[in-house]
């Protein structure tokens, strides 16, 4: 199963490398949203809860793009049929898609978080970086699992572009709560988080539950 999954993942990454469709679009989108927030809030620099809220909402909205595109090549060119004809476990497909989304999100954040530090953040980003990286990693795992599930759910509907944001955004509210609350003290001048452990536990619990659910139910999608 690992071999099948890594084959599908390599295929997805190669397509992304050649077409450069998803990750650049997500990155461009986040920078645009920063500009929107700058004018919408009429603030030159943010800190504390406002900064963490803007950062996380922007990242989640960018994730919507990634999730919408996740099965795009398979659908548009009919590749899904050949994938389903292949005598491989559906779970491998889920693992590959979730891993691809996870990598896209990581790539996005490598660019989007420093840009946020440059453009909008008041306090220095550097001090917050180790804890922030941990929060980002945990949030990405959950986002990748839920995103792959939502993407597969929406893949067969008539109004995919409509279903994905409507379905994904309420589902990731607990993730937003945990991530934004954990990030908020880190982005304050000289702030130290006292409840970091609790929010990391929330993120970890969310990841665990949704990875298990997605693995359990994914077999029933794309199954004909």
């Amino acid at each position: 199963m690992i071999r099948t999954a890594s084959a599908i993942l390599r295929k997805d990454l190669r397509i992304e490398l050649r077409t450069k469709e998803t990750v650049p679009a997500m990155t461009l989108f986040t920078v645009t949203v920063y500009v929107l927030f700058h004018f919408g809030l009429d603030r030159d620099s943010l800190d504390g809860e406002l900064a963490s809220g803007v950062l996380w909402v922007t990242l989640l909205l960018a994730a919507v793009i990634g999730v919408t595109r996740l099965f795009a090549t398979e659908r548009e060119q009919g590749g899904i049929d050949s994938l389903l004809l292949a005598p491989v476990d559906r779970t491998a497909l889920f693992v590959a898609k979730a891993a691809a989304l996870f990598l896209y999100l990581l790539l996005l954040e490598v660019v989007a978080v420093p840009v946020f530090g440059l453009l909008l953040l008041g306090p220095d980003l550097f001090d917050a970086l180790p804890e922030l990286a941990l929060i980002l990693l945990l949030a990405d795992v959950g986002l990748a699992a839920v995103g792959a599930l939502v993407s597969a759910l929406a893949a067969e509907t008539r109004a995919r572009e409509l279903i994905v944001p409507l379905l994904l955004l309420p589902l990731v509210v607990p993730l937003l709560i945990g991530a934004a609350s954990a990030t908020e003290p880190l982005l304050r001048e000289g702030g130290q988080s006292e409840d970091l452990g609790r929010y990391l536990a929330l993120l970890g619990g969310y990841d665990l539950v949704f990875v298990l659910i997605a693995l359990g139910v994914f077999d029933y999608l794309l199954d004909d």
Partner: protein
């Protein structure tokens, strides 16, 4: 198929609802600081509890559908979620009225139960566009079940997460609505919950019976049409065979 025992159930529902209203208006004492408006509590809270249980029950029926492949379980899950969304609309409206009367605002963001319920409600509203944008009936049933399972598991996680976020700034007593009620209020509340549950089950059965009947009617019609087609130009077909 679904109509077995419907009559006693319906009668029990009517009796329970009548009893709960009688208790609410004539037996339960007036709340000391909220007065008459507190009585909306006996509608609002049972409705919320039954709606949330209905969502989770929809998820469990969906598991049953995926396990057995029997599509009638998907229909059961669909009707349960459908009714829960209707109840959920009622919960949000009665909740807003109660909040306006007792706190002075239509909506309060620092009330974790309110916020969690809104998020769950928003998620379940997507059930309709998802379900009805899939045409193949078999696939529709399977995808809806997958949604129902994921969303059913989401309900408790979401409540825990929202409460966790609030607990830092607002340490509050968890049993604000249920734990320390005086005896008369508690009895009224329990009867109201039973009445609401019975109402939910009755409506669920009624809707299932209606859906089942209309499906049977449709298939009978189709068979009738087939037979009419067959009997009219049947002769040439037979001779060629």
């Amino acid at each position: 198929m679904y109509s077995k025992g419907f009559k006693p159930l319906a009668i029990a529902t009517v009796v329970a609802i009548a009893a709960s209203f009688a208790l609410v208006f004539f037996y339960a004492p007036l709340d000391a600081d909220q007065g008459f408006v507190q009585k909306i509590f006996y509608v609002h809270v049972p409705m919320a509890i039954v709606a949330l249980c209905g969502f989770v029950a929809g998820g469990i029926m969906a598991i049953k559908h995926l396990r057995t492949g029997d599509r009638s379980w998907d229909m059961r899950s669909y009707v349960a979620i459908h009714l829960s969304i209707i109840l959920g609309t009622g919960v949000l409206i009665t909740g807003a009225i109660w909040a306006k009367a007792s706190w002075g605002h239509w909506w309060l963001w620092d009330e974790p139960v309110l916020v969690s319920f809104l998020i769950v409600f928003l998620l379940y509203c997507v059930y309709y566009p998802l379900r009805f944008s899939i045409e193949d009936p078999d696939r529709q049933a399977r995808y809806s079940s997958v949604f129902a399972i994921a969303a059913g598991a989401f309900v408790p996680i979401n409540f825990a997460a929202v409460r966790l976020a609030e607990a830092v700034t607002h340490p509050r007593v968890l049993s604000q609505t249920g734990g320390n009620l005086p005896g008369e209020m508690r009895l009224t509340f329990l009867v109201s919950i039973v009445a609401m549950t019975l109402l939910f089950v009755t409506l669920w059965k009624l809707e299932l019976t209606a859906k089942n009947a209309s499906m049977q009617l449709k298939s009978l019609r189709r068979r009738l049409e087939l037979r009419a087609d067959e009997s009219a130009p049947a002769a040439p077909v037979r001779t060629t065979a």
